[in-house]
């Protein structure tokens, strides 16, 4: 039985400072008994001589210096792991909240995980067809990738995420597939929306939900993704399953991180976020991937709302530096009724090149995507120009680009919420659009591909 300390010296935000401790390990799990006798959990953030700084997952409301007690458990936070956890709902600490019994298992694991050895990684190359042209055609997702959705308040990122979860398939393969959904500080009705759409599409029985909602304690938000990813690693690498992890909303996660950092009086870097936010994000995002000699995989799709739609804000910025690309949603496209409102220009999939092409998708996939990018970028540039000088100031060739831009948004990007396009369809639409140009404009496409697919109109 470990010692029960009654020596809380200071309570500040989500932190408590416990004095006179000995034998306490860095990052170990702590149990706090509040004046009502309820147990809360926390972990050690720092030890300085005989003072331990502890963050309390459930928050410090109601704790007092005189009547709360603290015990150090000598081990880090662990969660139980079992395949029975699919179809269940948990809180941010991995405890069931759906009224069912705790999962029966012997297997417990530290939620912090361990870094994957880069030498043990297997490179993601398997194309996942999402049925969405803007993604499949131009920002292809592959198994084991981490591809976030950069969105803004009021944009249909949730709708898009559920469409992806519903439609994502690997053409010609039937294997164990499951979704792990992590809610961090999102609203109740958003969580309900996900639950409902998983239910309707039949994904729910193959998914585990970890919910930390907007009115749940912020510190728990820091633990929720780690619990979920620990389960994901277990299912992927021990049970050979393919796991899609949806994390929403990373912005709330980052806010919680800032809150703790401020309570510890740390030196802030940009916008008050802690200097280690990059490393902290990495400890979540890098838990995606594949391992040599194991069948399963973890694909991550974090969602974040960019504060003020600002892509240079530290949260999207640091995310973009770690993830393998990003899908950027655009308010202007949304206003014009385009769904999904994916702005392809700032969007990117870094792993696309290795998942496409001859023998994987189609030989023209890469060049077509490049040419679409170039043509659409040119169209956008000319759109700006024509608002100033009018269409009359443009050359015939320029007007062709304007027309392309319009068609591209209406026919290629735009599609139904339930429309599941095959890659063939996506590429055929692309050639249809590109064929309004004379051959000499298609400088990104090698000759032999032009000869095969190009049909001048």
């Amino acid at each position: 039985m470990s010692i029960e300390y009654r020596t809380i010296q200071k309570i500040s935000g989500p932190l408590i400072f416990v004095e006179g401790v000995s034998g306490v390990g860095y990052n170990e799990l702590v149990e706090i008994r509040d004046p009502e006798g309820n147990l809360r959990r926390g972990r050690v953030l720092e030890i300085n001589r005989n003072i331990a700084v502890v963050e309390v997952f459930e928050g410090t409301t109601g704790l007092s210096i005189t009547s709360s007690t603290v015990r150090f458990l000598g081990k880090p936070l662990t969660i139980p792991l079992s395949t029975e956890m699919l179809g269940r709902v948990f809180n941010g600490l991995g405890e069931p909240i759906d009224g069912g019994p705790p999962p029966f298992t012997e297997e417990y694991r530290d939620v912090n995980g361990l870094p994957m050895n880069p030498y043990a990684r297997d490179y993601p190359t398997k194309f996942i067809q999402t049925g969405i042209s803007a993604i499949d055609g131009m920002n292809t997702l592959v198994r084991g990738q981490k591809l976030p959705i950069f969105s803004g308040s009021g944009l249909p990122h949730n709708l898009l995420a559920t469409q992806i979860a519903r439609q994502a398939t690997i053409v010609g393969e039937e294997e164990g597939f499951a979704v792990i959904f992590v809610a961090m500080g999102i609203k109740h009705d958003e969580a309900e929306f996900f639950k409902k759409s998983f239910e309707e599409s039949g994904v729910l029985k193959n998914s585990a939900l970890f919910l930390n909602l907007a009115d749940d304690p912020p510190v728990e938000r820091l633990v929720a993704p780690r619990c979920a990813l620990t389960l994901a690693e277990y299912l992927a690498f021990e049970q050979d399953m393919h796991i899609l992890v949806i994390l929403t909303d990373m912005t709330n996660y980052a806010e919680a991180l800032r809150e703790i950092s401020a309570a510890r009086e740390e030196v802030p870097s940009r916008k008050g976020y802690p200097g280690y936010m990059y490393s902290d994000f990495a400890s979540i995002y890098e838990r995606a991937g594949r391992i040599k000699g194991r069948k399963g995989s973890i694909t991550q799709m974090p969602i974040l709302t960019m504060p003020n739609d600002d892509i240079t804000h530290p949260i999207p910025d640091l995310t973009g530096y770690i993830t393998e690309g990003q899908i950027v949603l655009d308010r202007d496209l949304h206003r014009r009724g385009i769904y999904p409102p994916i702005n392809v220009l700032p969007s990117l999939s870094r792993l696309m090149k290795d998942g496409i092409g001859k023998g994987k998708t189609r030989e023209d996939h890469g060049p077509v995507s490049n040419q679409l990018y170039a043509a659409y970028a040119r169209a956008q540039e000319l759109r700006m120009l024509s608002t100033i000088i009018g269409e009359e100031g443009l050359t015939d060739r320029d007007r062709l680009y304007l027309k392309f831009g319009e068609l591209f948004e209406r026919r290629f990007i735009n599609q139904g919420v339930n429309e599941n396009r095959s890659l063939e369809t996506t590429l055929d639409i692309a050639w249809d659009l590109l064929s309004i140009f004379p051959e000499s404009e298609l400088t990104r496409i090698p000759d032999y591909i032009i000869r095969k697919y190009y049909k001048r109109k």
């Binding site: 001589r49 870094p115 990684r121 030196v267 870097s269 991937g289 973009g320 792993l351 000759d447």
Partner: protein, 586 residues
């Protein structure tokens, strides 16, 4: 043995008291598990240690033991084709010990102890060898002859040297004597990572590092022994550019440091490099490559060390008389590791929370680049190419600003270009290279003397395009004179047919200097021919719809290096087609 007792633990930073006699930057063993750390501050009997492994579970009161030596790397056969973590532990061995995930507390040596290497002595008994001299060689890979050096702090008369044969690196291969002191030499020695290795003298960098990337080699070249900064927001292609440089640069040895970046990127190198062939020798690129990987989720303190580990290994190969190129992706993560540790030490921050010594650390690092005459009288170089990840793509942030002070070439990656999928997204208006004058002679010898003029002409047209775009924004393109419209078209050809380069196209990915020159020459010569046609009243729109022009725009993808002469034929066809338009109209 000196032992301190832990009094404070905060992430990767640990303080211990009762630690008298510890030295600054001494390697220490922390806690009961003997985690590896380095002393970074000493105050009285309290030392501060940055720990290179995860500190979870570490307790106050556990011991910190001194090792009596600074953090060092092992230098000898076995380096090439290896992948190390930030403190030179082979990730292959770590995987054998702890499985697919990296656990702490792995104790291993950097170089294999049991492997035998075929050693050929180059000196004999009675010879006097000076520090840094070559006493023998080992063919480490088909691409690399590993020259065995006398350590820079040893010299003497050879009393004994082994015969040609197979030896492990722990076997004594020679014995030296100097003033009655005797030393045993092995095939490897150790060197502290924070101490630059000595050389005889520094030389001017006069030879370009040919990278096969057109915008770099032709517009913003780097010399062997130079230092370059590649800044760019996320998605602008820093990593692809770094990989391209690592793959195609004409250095003898490539050291690729993945500092705080994605795990999959290291895997990509590990998968591609054994398959990709060196364009000059036809051998797998991996046979000249060393990887250092500290991915973003590996311990942060080791991120600080990995840069030094890499550059020290680079200097060692330089001392054998080789040209070494080091890619560090990304130095911002290294700077952030400095910041994180400084923050935990509660040091007074300067700009954006970075410690005040950020600039001097960057300076020290980039000064380790250079072309030198080695201790053994050979010529060798270390070229440093540092990627920078500025927050929000803002080049006025501290790491970019300070790095610019210590490098002489700046390849600015641009978000706008990247979103058009113009790769490499190096912005030609704000990038620069101070090495142009140094490498001019080399290029002129290969290109009949007009490389520099062509280069200037190309930059001039691109600059003029930028100005014209401003004008078009006001008055529209139709009101421009025909000669200005031609500038726009030539600039477009330059951008699409020369500056853009597809890293994933088998032909386009590497451009020989000859192909680069011919392409540039053809595009600029087209400009001259078209100017003549315009003066005869031919409209630009008629000229640019010629079939041969789109041939020129696609030549980079269609014409392989060994057939570069075909570019001349395209130019001839352009000339003929334009001439025939002129004849028709007159």
């Amino acid at each position: 043995m000196r032992i301190g007792k832990i009094i404070r633990i905060s992430g990767p930073v640990v303080q211990a008291e009762g630690a008298l006699g510890f030295e600054m930057h001494e390697l220490v063993m922390v806690g009961n598990e003997e985690l590896i750390g380095e002393v970074v501050r000493i105050e009285g009997d309290i030392i501060t240690v940055q720990v290179y492994e995860d500190t979870v579970g570490l307790k106050v009161g556990e011991p910190v033991k001194g090792s009596g030596m600074p953090l060092s790397v092992e230098l000898g056969p076995g380096l090439i084709q290896n992948i190390f973590d930030g403190i030179q532990r082979p990730l292959t061995i770590i995987r054998e010990v702890t499985g697919d995930f990296v656990r702490r507390g792995v104790k291993t040596t950097a170089l294999p102890r049991d492997k035998k290497w075929h050693f050929i002595p180059l000196k004999k008994v009675g010879d006097y060898v000076k520090p840094g001299e070559i006493i023998g060689k080992v063919q480490e890979t088909p691409l690399v002859e590993h020259r065995i050096l006398v350590p820079p702090n040893r010299e003497g008369k050879i009393e004994y040297i082994v015969e040609e044969g197979d030896y492990t690196i722990e076997e004594t291969i020679a014995k030296l004597s100097l003033n009655n002191t005797k030393y045993e030499l092995k095939m490897y020695h150790k060197w502290p990572v924070r101490k630059p290795r000595p050389y005889l003298e520094r030389l001017e960098p006069t030879e370009p590092l040919i990278t096969g990337q057109r915008i770099i080699d032709t517009l913003f070249p780097v010399a062997k022994g130079g230092a370059v900064c590649i800044p760019g927001g996320f998605g602008t292609g820093k990593t692809v550019t770094s990989h391209q440089l690592a793959a195609w640069s004409d250095a003898h040895i490539i050291i690729y440091i993945g500092c705080g970046e994605r795990g999959n990127e290291m895997t990509e190198v590990l998968i591609n490099f054994p398959e990709w062939k060196d364009p000059r020798t036809g051998r797998p690129l991996m046979e000249r490559t060393i990887l250092i990987a500290n991915t973003s989720n590996m311990p942060v303190a080791a991120r600080e060390a990995c840069i030094y580990t890499g550059v020290t290994i680079a200097e060692y190969f330089r001392d054998m008389g080789y040209d070494v190129a080091v890619m560090a992706d990304s130095t911002s993560r290294w700077a952030e590791a400095l910041r994180e540790i400084a923050g935990r030490l509660e040091e007074m921050p300067a700009e954006e929370g970075y410690p005040p010594y950020l600039a001097s650390r960057l300076g020290e690092f980039y000064e380790r680049a250079g072309r030198v005459k080695t201790l053994s009288g050979l010529y060798g170089s270390v070229t440093l190419i540092g990627a920078v990840s500025p927050p929000g793509g803002d080049f006025s942030e501290p790491v970019t600003v300070h790095t610019k002070r210590f490098v002489r070439a700046f390849w600015a990656l641009d978000t706008a270009l990247a979103s058009m999928r113009h790769y490499p997204a190096i912005n030609w208006l704000i990038s620069y290279s101070e090495y142009v004058d140094y490498v001019e002679k080399w290029w002129n010898e290969k290109t009949h003397g007009n490389w520099k003029n062509l280069r200037l002409k190309a930059l001039e047209i691109l600059k003029r395009e930028d100005e014209l775009k401003e004008i078009i924004r006001l008055v529209g393109i139709e009101s421009l004179p025909e000669t200005e419209k031609l500038v726009l078209e030539t600039a477009r050809l330059l951008r699409e047919g020369f500056l853009q380069q597809n890293a994933y196209d088998p032909i386009d990915t590497y451009s020989s200097p000859e192909k680069q020159y011919k392409l540039l020459y053809a595009i600029l010569e087209f400009h001259n021919i078209a100017l003549k046609a315009i003066s005869k009243g031919i409209p630009v729109s008629k000229i640019i719809s010629l079939k041969s022009i789109s041939e020129l725009a696609r030549a980079r993808m269609n014409i392989p290096n060994e057939k570069a002469y075909e570019i001349d034929n395209i130019l001839k066809r352009i000339e003929n087609e334009i001439n025939s338009i002129m004849e028709e109209s007159s």
